[in-house]
């Protein structure tokens, strides 16, 4: 099915397939929004990925490709393994001792769980933003400069910090208080600071684990606008509980359901308007989960 056909269909079927009160407006938005060119090149590939926490199986044979310079949303009910999947992508699960990871995760064609991969170096290329804003109790400047400093890339530090803050749409609000503590910022500003901190080191992929769930709606919508801009340059993978958000900002959506199973993965419009699986439709329309 070509893109045009899909768009046409969405006009007809949006009422039927999706509860309009839930995401009606946003679906209209995605229609008008240009589909990102997306290179169709897979940056990250997972093959038969299984994760166990002790006896518990958190991911069940997940096969998925994440495409360059697109926003990929991962949605699903609580405990479905979507955060676990995200943490596998930059090997943050290494820090959880009980986690056993089987299968293959490829980043740029290289097996990232191979013996010759340095997880620290890997995380330098795959940044992460967490659910709760977690700025360091340092100045705003030091927060943004942190990654560059630990990576020993301190030339042109001032310019890079400024650029990162501008990219994170925070510069105008904080440019006269760079030396003040980051803890004095509001929650939404702190989260944008964390994004600035992540993009300051110029990663290829940015992982976001429910970045707006701890924020008020206004602050959340700023972050969403920001994610939209970031996708011009970066590959963004976002885990979210908020289906409108996924519909608004993502190009592709992956739906994980209970048991750590990737049930459906497709273009966002397709998922929200005409999902293949009944379970996915039920979940999206709020019948379960």
């Amino acid at each position: 099915m070509s893109k045009e056909e899909l768009d046409d269909e969405s006009d007809d079927e949006s009422e039927g397939a999706v509860d309009s009160s839930l995401i009606g407006m946003e679906v209209a938005d995605t229609d008008t929004k240009d589909r990102r060119p997306g290179t169709e090149e897979a940056v990250i590939e997972t093959r038969d990925l299984n994760v166990y926490y002790g006896d518990e199986r958190a991911l069940h044979d997940v096969n998925m490709e994440i495409h360059e310079r697109e926003v990929t949303a991962i949605i699903g009910p609580s405990g479905c393994g979507k955060s676990t999947y995200l943490r596998c992508i930059n090997r943050m699960n290494d820090l959880v001792e009980a986690a056993i990871i089987e299968g293959e995760v490829r980043f740029g064609g290289m097996d990232m769980y191979g013996d010759d991969v340095d997880p620290v170096a890997l995380r330098r290329r795959i940044g992460m933003v967490f659910q709760h804003p977690n700025p360091f109790p340092k100045s705003i400047y030091d927060n943004v400069a942190y990654g560059l400093r630990v990576q020993n890339r301190t030339e042109h530090l001032d310019e890079k910090v400024e650029q990162a803050l501008k990219d994170a749409a925070l510069w105008d609000e904080v440019n006269d208080q760079l030396d003040e503590s980051a803890m004095d910022l509001s929650g939404g500003q702190q989260q944008r600071l964390c994004i600035a901190r992540a993009i300051a080191v110029d990663p290829e992929v940015i992982l976001m684990d429910e970045p707006t769930s701890a924020l008020d709606p206004v602050a959340g919508s700023k972050i969403e606008d920001l994610i939209d801009d970031l996708a011009e340059e970066y590959t963004v993978v976002i885990v979210t509980h908020n289906m409108q958000q996924a519909a608004r900002i993502s190009d592709r959506t992956a739906v994980f359901l209970t048991g750590g199973e990737l049930v459906e993965y497709d273009d966002t419009e397709k998922i929200f308007e005409n999902p293949e699986h009944q379970r996915v439709e039920d979940y999206i329309t709020g019948k379960f989960g």
């Binding site: 943050m92 820090l95 977690n134 360091f136 109790p137 990654g147 020993n152 080191v201």
Partner: protein, 617 residues
């Protein structure tokens, strides 16, 4: 059908006297009493001690009037004034910390270095700074800063070990190996192919050299970095072969007061330079540091010209005048609102000085105190209580506390970091770590007498140190507080939120970088507070010192390996003196001096905690 009572009736009290209420009140009273038992008992003790030591009943009414007029009234007035002005109170606290912290630091540094002589410690500090400087230079040269921090710390420790006593430690190690395996017939009859000194040199030079070589090869260091290998080999070889003795003559050339400038003035200047650089430019930092050094030299020169002891005044200048000047200068620039708070400590000191001056003028009879300059500054006299002094014991206690801190802090914090950040939670290794952790908690409860036996066995018998030296006392007490330091450091590290660690790892920081940049800065106030409180607790320990046969009476120890004396032992011995004045007055006065030392340390801990807490928010 019963009528419902009116709503107002249903909530009215039954009568004036309700048994239920009475029971509640009585229970509350019992709880209050339980809370106060300890404090009241301690207050009674302090009251007795205070009367015995200070003898306030002997003072005349005129003296009390003077006391209130010059000391109590002005300080209370100041306290009342600043009560509702937070900026003033904050500045007042800073000024107090600078003045009295500076005084405590300078006096402690002075008495210790005066006892040991400034040149020995200076030599060690110079030698210990060689390798960190080399490493920093290497990092700049190859433009890689990975692992510079731990390398600097490790190399400093290694050099200190070499110079402080390679012979002692490495020989002791061989002794220990002999002790452990010598009973096995074959091993016991083996003879070393080379002499022991040669073997010691080979081990202590070879291990660091191989470590550096291994590190460079593993990290794919550039070829030019390998120049470090012969440097390390030479340094460690020299270190074992009496590195320090070679340099001794060069340090001996320095006049004593110049050695003090290098020992106290230069580090203080470096701290000031760093503090200024953090808020201004590098140049201004250098200027500030230079000013401190120049001030030191000027003070020394003036003191020489007026034939005072330049060493003492140099230490006082660096330790007290410089921090006070820094705080005052900072307040003058940054905090106009709270500036008046700077007066606090000076109101207090001025009141004391004025009172002392007027006391003679108006001829007031003061209290009959036992806390006199004689007690603080002269040596013991067992026959005339008015001539009895505890200067050697005070210095000895300060030295023991320093050794204690040096021994227990790095080891304790290191163990806490391992247990919290590195130790696995699962598997056999995890179980071992858990087992260790439980046992460390148990060790905290082992009686101090038993630790004394441990010190005796370890230092006197196994390591063959002479009996009753300062090092043994400090190290034994260091072992005593080690579990407390570990547990409190663990708690401080555990209190750092995990989200910060994840944030740091997510930025591509290594474990060490996360620890160094995120975890430790957050945990340091807690770690320091716990450590200092533990040190304060251990400064009064008596039983272990008796067991390791510390001398009750002696001269001021002139080094770590000299035979030591300590204040609690002096208190213990005066309680058994035949002359009643010793058992009453001198004993109480000594106890108050010991408490003052302990309280000073606790005050430092509280200040540190408050300072870091206000910085966070």
């Amino acid at each position: 059908m019963a009528t419902k009572p009116e709503p107002a009736e249903s909530i009215r009290r039954d009568g004036r006297f309700s048994l239920k209420e009475l029971k509640g009140k009585a229970f509350e009273g019992v709880l209050i009493a339980a809370t106060l038992v300890g404090i009241v008992a301690l207050l009674v003790l302090f009251g007795y001690m205070f009367f015995d030591a200070v003898g306030p009943q002997a003072a005349s009414a005129k003296w009390y009037l003077l006391f209130f007029g010059t000391l109590v009234a002005p300080t209370s007035a100041f306290a009342l004034y600043s009560r509702r002005r937070p900026a003033v109170r904050r500045m007042n606290a800073r000024a107090f910390a600078a003045v009295f912290g500076g005084l405590a630091f300078s006096l402690a540094a002075w008495v210790v270095f005066d006892a040991t002589g400034p040149r020995g410690p200076l030599l060690y500090i110079l030698l210990a700074s060689v390798s960190p400087l080399l490493i920093a230079g290497y990092a700049k040269y190859v433009e890689r800063s990975m692992f510079v921090g731990p390398a600097m710390v490790m190399s400093t420790l290694v050099v200190l070990l070499w110079t402080l006593g390679t012979e002692v430690f490495v020989f002791a190690l061989f002794d220990l190996i002999g002790l452990l395996f010598g009973w096995i017939p074959v091993l016991g009859s083996l003879r070393l192919p080379v002499g022991l000194p040669a073997l010691v040199t080979a081990v202590s030079a070879g291990v660091p050299t191989l470590a550096v070589l291994w590190y460079l090869v593993r990290r794919d260091a550039p070829r030019r970095a390998f120049v470090l290998v012969p440097v390390v080999a030479a340094l460690s070889g020299l270190g074992t072969a009496g590195f320090d003795f070679w340099f001794q003559p060069y340090v001996d050339v320095l006049a004593a007061w110049v050695a003090y400038v290098c020992l106290v003035g230069v580090p203080v200047a470096a701290v000031v330079a760093l503090a200024v650089r953090r808020r201004a430019t590098v140049r201004e930092g250098l200027v500030a540091g230079g000013a401190v050094v120049a001030g030191n030299l000027a003070v020394g020169g003036v003191a020489l010209a007026r034939s005072l002891d330049p060493s003492f005044w140099v230490v006082m200048f660096s330790g007290t005048v410089v921090p006070v000047a820094y705080v005052v200068g900072d307040a003058a620039i940054a905090d106009r609102e709270g500036r008046i708070g700077l007066l606090g400590p000076f109101v207090l000191i001025g009141g004391v000085l004025l009172g002392a001056l007027l006391e003679d003028v108006i001829n007031a009879t003061g209290p009959d105190t036992w806390i006199t300059p004689t007690l603080l500054l002269s040596t013991w006299n067992g026959l005339d209580p008015t001539e009895a002094g505890a200067y050697p014991e005070i210095v000895g206690s300060i030295m023991i506390v320093s050794v204690m801190a040096l021994m227990s802090f790095p080891v304790g914090v290191g163990a806490a970091i391992y247990l919290e950040e590195y130790a696995p939670n699962t598997g056999l290794a995890g179980r071992f770590a858990n087992f260790t952790e439980v046992n460390i908690a148990n060790l905290a409860g082992v009686p101090s007498v038993v630790y004394g036996l441990l010190g005796l066995a370890l230092f006197n018998n196994v390591l063959d140190f002479p009996p009753g030296i300062v090092f043994t006392a400090g190290a034994t007490l260091g072992l005593l507080i080690l579990p407390i330091v570990i547990v409190s450091a663990q708690e401080a590290i555990r209190a750092v939120p995990d989200s910060l660690r994840r944030g740091s790892y997510g930025m591509g920081a290594s474990r060490w970088q996360t620890l160094r940049n995120v975890v430790l800065p957050e945990a340091v106030p807690g770690i320091l507070t716990g450590t200092i409180l533990a040190l304060g607790r251990a400064i009064g320990e008596t039983a272990p010192l008796l067991i390791i046969s510390l001398a009750v009476s002696g001269s001021t120890p002139d080094g770590l390996f000299a035979s030591g004396v300590a204040l609690p032992l002096r208190i213990y011995s005066s309680s058994a003196n035949a002359i009643p004045e010793y058992r009453k007055g001198v004993l109480a006065a000594l106890a108050i001096v010991l408490l003052a030392l302990m309280l000073t340390m606790n005050a430092v801990a509280i200040l540190l905690r408050n300072r870091y807490q206000t910085n966070d928010t």
